[in-house]
Assembly symmetry: C2
Homo-oligomer: 319 residues x 2
Amino acid sequence: MAVYTEVTDDALAAFLERYEIGRVVAFRGIAEGVENSNYSLRTTEGDFILTLYEKRVDPVELPWFLGLMEHLAAQSLPCPLPVRAQDGANLNPLAGRIAAITTFLPGIWPRRPTAAHCGPLGAALARLHEAGTGYAAERANALGPHGWRPLLDRCGESADRVQPGWGVELAAALDRILAAWPEDLPRGQIHADLFPDNVFFLDGAISGLIDFYFAATDYFAYDIAVCLNAWCFEADLTFNITKSRALLRGYQSIRPLAATETAALPVLCQGAAIRFLLTRLYDWINTPDGALVTRKDPMPYYRRLRFHAQTRSASDYGL
Amino acid sequence: MAVYTEVTDDALAAFLERYEIGRVVAFRGIAEGVENSNYSLRTTEGDFILTLYEKRVDPVELPWFLGLMEHLAAQSLPCPLPVRAQDGANLNPLAGRIAAITTFLPGIWPRRPTAAHCGPLGAALARLHEAGTGYAAERANALGPHGWRPLLDRCGESADRVQPGWGVELAAALDRILAAWPEDLPRGQIHADLFPDNVFFLDGAISGLIDFYFAATDYFAYDIAVCLNAWCFEADLTFNITKSRALLRGYQSIRPLAATETAALPVLCQGAAIRFLLTRLYDWINTPDGALVTRKDPMPYYRRLRFHAQTRSASDYGL
């Protein structure tokens, strides 16, 4: 799924001449990551990941993402460190794309997250939020609350073709969410997409946080809400409060939540659910039938949205 | 493209307990290989490839393939060595599939093969043929000449829907090829699918031959014909005799061809071309429109077939 751009040996060799990381020993496409092309690159000096940025990523935004990763890595967060070429550039052209080399992180992402994963995850998320405070440049969250209405509008009448009644129902849900959206919560750099496949574990501890290409400047507690959606529902889409409690406790062991943040959890979780519902719905409608990408079903996020719509307070999340 | 079966952390850990290769350090899906699911597996003891055999591979045939790889590796051929579990088994169940661990081979497969690749390739192919002689068990080549007529018959009238006239034309071509098919050429274990993505190079030398799951017992020179088709045509489908000459010279530097083999090259090359034409045609017809696999266009092999149909002797291949 994740090699859209082929790199010839000659092009790779020429690209690597810009860097001081030795000669190529192995180079294999990685079947993970949906947005970009990723290769596992081994050189005589170590292991790296080579990423070619595909069309969904705006090249203008790349320096912000790579700057954030560099900043977080410098704060000892286990995230990929962009490798700079001899001239200092961490972004260089390759095979008609912009490409970057980052350090390799050990670990495995959990295919079946358990409560034992959720505590370390929460703590790592809080560390990420704290580590990001010194990174001054801001990036508006294009997929935050201001982006949801335009996204639903662009789905238009097709929403009802995916699921009868969704057009009206999602518009009403969005009205309620945006009307209740909190103001002035603590904010900073958030990951905004910290799903299990972006978190590596080794011997029970977190060894890597990857894929910062949805990162933005937004409410910290919204990032928690994304994780509650991504980590705390079972395969049958029931909510697991044990996982949620572990995640929130792990988070607060590093960064205690303000009362305004805990109070906002139900609506933030609804917002996070509708964000993934809407992007999946949009992709579902706009992916041609024969396309070589996996369309993700929006329905599981509708089910999550319905769960969050009936929660009353942070206690429903185990706090 | 190449992760069809997901492996949970728990299942992987339980599977690895059968082996003595240390603890997992990293585990990533590889976006290469069309038939099976492949993972890059790093443990505290080294690097390995984990393969889960998908539906196209008959489990009954796996011991033959793995036995061949073990035999070839013991002859110092740079092919993956299946790792045996503590009980001696090199095939074990994982995630509802049969799986094997093999050693990791360094190198990069050439995205744009040049004549400089073709000499070492030819020599490696000859070494493979010689190394296989001590492996006594035979495997009939299901995709050899006896398999082509049934394959075309199963395409039936759909061939004409892919390309008008193909039904009659391919049947006639197949008649000619089978009528001229040589008897009693030197035979043994052949790779039968040695395309560029199955051959790793490092510093100009071959560092790995992989993917033996089409290997069979058949004419050595037919294996050469497969390589001439796979390596010696340009992107515009013109034949490059410089590459062909390099490949044949490389081969003969290890194993000189008999006169019967060189005389048969034109028809063997036609056979190899129609073999890939027919499997691609069959897959083209039988792949549902929305399927998540890349359908390979049969047309380039029709073009190759037409080239080979007008060659007269081995001199047309640079000998």
